[in-house]
Assembly symmetry: D2
């Protein structure tokens, strides 16, 4: 196997990349100038050395100066609102939310969802880590509200329900408010395609 | 041109039907038994005779007994809540909403939308008919709230704004409440694909 | 159930039409003028009376003048080349081929395909009707070549093989030639997406 | 800009990769173990050093042992049939053809296509390189046939016509045969979707 094939095989492990696309990447790199390839190699080297997972919210992030810091830039920022904790499924959800410039609190990444009727939910999401984080936040007397930002699907709803029950066992309603992003009409939706749940929520909460 | 081709040409005027699909309809009908074709012809005949447009909400409907009634079954029903008027773009939106079994008020169909910067909005939607309907309802002392259920697009937003202004010129805020279906996360939405407007609405209105 | 719903139900039996599309057809018809609806009804009536299946090639066709003719316009035409018989799967294949203006022989419609390992092929395609047609044509001393125009799929290939075997049992190689449309690169094909069978055929038969 | 964002920007230059997919690659790499990242970096380094373009057919390839060889493995192989030269548009076409195991001749990559009515075709494809290659091959007395394997589109047909004219100016019909992959039904094609050119070719060349 030559170098081009070996590289194509490595690219095939990238998410969503099949053999044809992997080959296209290799041909692209063969055609590109040396400078671009040097940049890519350097960037990968640095990611290898500085790539870290935040011990608080579990985001993956690149620690530019390779500090001894254990927290990501969001968790360690003094300008974020520590009274809000938003629960999301995965890293890329945070990217989407940050891009809206509409939320200034903290996050916790579950790393998965709990399907309905799942018998071992603790293996599927970071529930222990989340409860530990809530305990710490309560001790620090900062946390006031936990906001669920999970997908609007059976998996998302079931995960939310499971976590809400678990949280309620460790912290009283008066201590921390539990909320979730409102359901309603998303941008682009045509009324003719509205489903029952979405319409009901949108009608009840009309404004 | 033979009969099959003539029928295919007529089917090509059906919404969303191209020449290939029109031919498939004809072949389907050629293969079908006489009974089905008789039913179809009879049903079309009756639609021709009983098909009416409601003079109040502008819905098209089939008046089964070919009565002298001028109102559709929703507008003439005594069990619908006459204090609520929902403004929609087109007939099929009402079908979708009625299927949710979540709304029991009346409707008015605009028959179109007003694009941004349109200079003749009165030609595009039934604004005169709508204001007349509101006047009548006010005289009857029944109307309390007008709910906008328009698509969540630039066209929908612009139409809503235009109608709200027009309504406010003829009826005071204390007389009739104006509201619209709430924006938020629709069923099936993954957080990673959320847009700014949807996220902001969903966060502000979290519950 | 009102007339509009009944008609929507009838439209839902049309090929490829779901409940939403069926409703759109009904709303379209409700909005259309009487003249169009009259034309549609008249055309359906005539199709009902004049719709026939050719007893030779099994095409469905509209017999405009409702004659006592049993053959379709292709089979009864004196200008078609009776030495060629093309075997196709379904009616709409003939439409596509006739539109190319490149073939002037006769057809026979199988009405289906034989899946590999099928144990009752005689129930799936008009094999008895086809062999009868070949017998008649041989008696008339006209048929010289049978051309297979079946889809380039496992089903198509298996059907062709099965029919070839059956035909060879009733008529010698010297009497009737058996051929099939050549394999090769179809219009629009990019070489990067070529499959092995297509490339091999296209290379062997390069010109 | 942190390291993760910088890497995402570099990935966005990969063919067909948008900002979202680029981010997914970075998150994937952050999650992957060190060993995989090391392999990827090493493979990129080697590609940088061993990536070459064949001076004969213009393929990009990885020269594993970084030899002083100027020809790719196909052009320098003694087992390939030097009497056949296949003209393709791009690198990935060769991959697809080699995978069919049906062709054992040599290649020449044009690096592009000539649109109809183009006034500077020499800037768009390697026509000078191709004629030089043909001259050399004729001197070596090996070349017997040039096979066009270009996309079955207007661009492909126009390119083939342009090159054929150019070749005929430098080499007689008796010296080198010019051919192209046969047109016909590609795998998977349903007769109902056949176009005129494809059907005509398939009918003429039926077998």
């Amino acid at each position: 196997m030559n170098e081009a094939d070996r590289l194509a095989e490595l690219f095939m492990r990238f998410p969503g990349i099949g053999p044809k696309q992997a080959k296209r990447f290799v041909y692209f790199l063969l055609r590109e100038n040396s400078h671009y390839k040097d940049q890519l190699i350097k960037s990968l080297e640095e990611l290898k050395h500085t790539g870290k997972q935040c011990t608080r919210c579990f985001r993956f992030y690149g620690d530019k100066y390779n500090t001894s810091n254990l927290l990501c830039d969001i968790c360690s920022s003094s300008s974020r609102d520590k009274s809000l904790l938003m629960i999301v499924e995965k890293d890329i959800d945070i990217d989407a939310i940050e891009k809206t410039n509409s939320y200034n609190g903290l996050y916790c990444i579950l790393g998965g969802l709990v399907p309905p009727l799942s018998d071992k939910p603790t293996d599927l999401i970071r529930i222990r880590e989340l409860t530990a984080l809530i305990h710490t936040s309560l001790t620090e007397n900062t946390l006031q509200e936990i906001i669920f930002a999970l997908p609007v699907t059976d998996y998302g709803d079931n995960t939310q329900e499971y976590i809400q029950k678990t949280i309620r066992q460790i912290v009283g309603i008066d201590k921390v408010k539990l909320s979730h992003l409102a359901r309603g009409l998303s941008s682009g939706l045509e009324i003719e395609y509205v489903d029952k749940d979405t319409f009901k929520s949108a009608l009840e909460r009309r404004n």
